[in-house]
Symmetry: C2
Subunit: 504 residues, 2 copies
């Protein structure tokens, strides 16, 4: 059933999107810390782990830590630096995640990044109806757009909660939609063991294998957030263990908001993030040496006047690039995010997201969580923000296309042909290249002002609404082997009959 | 008269803007080209200059080139690579520009950048009245905002044309307003010799010196655009010569729109830009060895469907960073810009400007032209865009604040104090630092969505309107020595009586 089909281009689309594929980043990441500073934060993280330790609420996780030589007392796990170093040795520097159509397989590591769609918000929003609880039908529409936008490499774990479905079995319907509507890889839910194992079972069916066999062809990413500061709760620990047991990828992501759940200084927040990430990463290796895992950096800051979390700030960008350095220091792939606290798809949403993107991608991220669609500090998935972010990601990919300086590109003959005071519109050099020379925008409008006014003076937020509706019309559901489809449906029906997952 | 007064903070402002001052950039610029590629484009530029040459329409400029050993025939100047190399040797790697209040002096070069306000548009725009011809009164309001916004280091040459003033004497009123309303450095107009000399004369008066004496304390920047491809017209040549004669700074900026006035390939457009910039730079050194000069990079692309110029594209960002490498290769300070083709202060305006800013500032720019206020591909100065860009620049400055990893910042005691599951809101570590820990926004709103809605659901474009009006109310005109004021007024009156500058 893993027939390799060519990723679709958007037939009939008014824009020609580049083919699906991860563009290698040709530029060195930005170093915001010196080598000594990286070493100092790394040491501080190790010191936090050995002196203060991580409070681990889950019995099994504590037992696993103890089995690997950690000191465990009063629910707190302390690891000494040598133990951490030893346990990090089995972390794979890169790995492949497998899609049901292998043309959509992605690589995590090296100079490539996986761009994901938003995962996990409570609400959905669009220009027509504002913010509201989501339902299953519109969640499916959101997934259809994720499939059709080539720049999105991976679905991010369910774009928003379908509130018309029961909470204990909702995850089963989400998984079924992720598999049926997408050919791309998708992320699983890791809140508790039951939800996690359901994702693993269904991902295995989609790939024609068993949960055990999935370890050889990892398909899923799960995000594990520590409860900062320095705490790992039971549902997250269960999710981590279940995913690692089955060789599925985990992004260990402390939620270190400087000034609230972490020190008000970036170095302090990063040291704490580092300690928490290290603890989670080594736990995956205790469960299964060689399990794919990422170092998650999510350090941001709060607005110190109100306590509100802020995202896409200059501090966020610096922290992302510093986190990339810390991840490279320990040889673990790096996860970052595309974030904003804006309330509308306005200038603020654009500049905070782009600040976050430069921080993440020029910080060497290998997995960009919430790459497209995130609004309201992660509480809302927006249809228009999905389009804005797709444009931003396509722009970054175009930025990552290296400048060709070969003889043809250097164009000396064309310059001679045009001559002083001439122009290049009609030269042979231009005619041979103009169609693919530059990024072709999805959302940007380059009309001059009178023309723009004449066409109605439509701003970017309103254009984004038109774009997603036009794209949605082009969607065609990818073929799924009927036997697999039936197997999945049976599984969902059985698990629903069993009552689904316990509520946390 | 150069009493050093402390730059004002905005008293009573609802936001606490950081003090005036250029922040050193602590990070290495991004290299988008390999060393070999830089050398290849440099060689191609030299080959263009020696084989094709620059058409120079001005007799005096051609004579100057000839006097330095260039081959001149049929109005075209050809320079061999050795001549170019020799003439570049006197370019100063950095220099200071002097303001009438020395507290506002700026450095061009090293790891500092001068952020300017928009210069030169035909139109003005705000939310209340849309786009329109500008007048002198609102031009003065724009200058007042440029003075009050600490993140703007230099006025950019008149924000827009005051169409209520006669074209032949308008420049005199603009200079008078720049000197009277601002204590910061400002840019002169270089379209023809008369306008240029008027600027030099008045800048000298403001600094209590003579036009000849101004060479020891350069005050002005003038922008020289070549008529790409490969042409220097008479007004620009006159402006260049007059400025260089008086030791004032020039930014030699080819207008190389790839696909129109330059090859459709970035390497070709950069090679042509390099040839044109080199020719202009060496002309400044022929006029006056050691004259301050910058390498201007403005390569962007056109929309190949419509021929419209596009700005803030991925190609623009790459070209800016490549231009920075070319400028460093020849040891000349680098000028770049903050640009967008957007028609409104919407998401597109934000993401194109921010793409341009990352290109420019992480490309090592020493002068950021149009740093704040540019809209409509440079045809319009917008009051709201001025505020948006001020926010973006303040964010970049905060990003350029290095991460402190000293013991206090590493916060191990605070992490111990908060402990697993605790929080940092009330710790001594937080209390001692929270007021200045993070970038305090001018425009961003971090309210949660219900609060934001309750306050009227005001988007960033509308908030920017409120911000500039509130700032304008705080403006206080800086003191100008009455003797200087009278001298300037007399000069303006005399030059108006003489008929001002000839119309080009």
């Amino acid at each position: 059933m893993s027939t390799r089909r060519r990723p679709r281009t958007s037939r009939g689309a008014s824009f020609a999107q580049p083919a699906f594929g991860q563009r290698p980043r040709p530029y060195a990441p930005v170093d915001v810390l010196s080598t000594d500073q990286v070493a100092a934060i790394h040491s501080a993280g190790l010191e936090i782990l050995s002196r203060i330790g991580l409070r681990v609420l889950d019995d099994r996780a504590r037992a696993l830590f103890r089995s690997a030589g950690a000191k465990v007392s009063d629910g707190t796990v302390r690891l000494d630096p040598a133990q951490v170093g030893e346990l990090l040795k089995t972390v794979p520097p890169s790995f492949t995640l497998h899609a049901r159509n292998p043309a959509y397989d992605v690589t995590v590591g090296g100079n490539r990044c996986v761009y994901t769609s938003v995962g996990g918000p409570a609400y959905v929003m669009d220009n027509d109806r504002g913010r509201r609880d989501g339902n299953y039908a519109e969640m499916c529409d959101y997934l259809r757009l994720v499939q059709i936008l080539n720049v999105i490499h991976q679905e991010g774990g369910g774009p928003f909660e379908p509130m018309d479905l029961p909470a204990n079995t909702r995850h089963l319907d989400i998984y079924r939609a992720q598999i049926g509507l997408l050919e791309k890889t998708w992320q699983g839910q890791t809140l508790g063991r039951a939800r996690t194992l359901d994702g693993i079972a269904m991902a295995a069916m989609a790939l024609g294998t068993t949960p055990e066999g999935l370890a050889d062809r990892p398909a899923l990413v799960g995000v594990i957030n520590t409860n900062s500061p320095l705490q790992l709760d039971i549902p997250m620990a269960e999710g981590l263990i279940a995913m690692a047991e089955h060789g599925q990828a985990l992004a260990i992501t402390p939620f270190t908001l400087a000034g609230a759940m972490a020190p008000v200084t970036l170095a302090g927040a990063l040291a704490q993030q580092h300690a928490e990430a290290l603890a989670g990463i080594v736990l995956t290796q205790i469960v299964r040496p060689g399990a794919p895992v990422l170092y998650g950096g999510f350090t941001s800051n709060v607005d110190m006047r109100s306590g509100s979390p802020a995202f896409g700030t200059p501090e966020y960008a610096k922290a992302a690039q510093a986190s990339g350095q810390l991840a490279r220091h320990i040889g673990v792939p790096f996860r970052s995010s595309n974030v904003t606290a804006a309330n509308e798809v306005d200038a603020q949403a654009a500049y905070e997201s782009q600040m976050a993107l430069w921080g993440a991608l020029m910080g060497g991220a290998h997995l960009l969580e919430h790459g497209a669609g995130w609004l309201h500090g992660g509480l809302t998935a927006s249809f228009e923000k999905l389009i804005l972010d797709a444009e931003l990601l396509m722009m970054m990919d175009a930025y990552f296309t290296p400048i060709d300086t070969g003889p043809g590109a250097m164009a000396l003959d064309a310059i001679l042909e045009a001559g002083p005071g001439g122009h290049f519109f009609g030269t042979a050099h231009t005619m041979a290249r103009y169609e693919t020379a530059f990024h072709a925008p999805l959302l940007s409008n380059w009309d001059n002002y009178p023309t723009w006014l004449e066409k109605g003076g439509i701003d970017a937020r309103t254009r984004a609404n038109t774009v997603w509706k036009a794209l949605l019309e082009q969607y065609e559901e990818p073929v799924l082997d009927p036997a697999v489809s039936e197997e999945l449906d049976d599984y969902v029906a059985r698990r629903k009959a069993e009552g689904g997952a316990p509520m946390n």
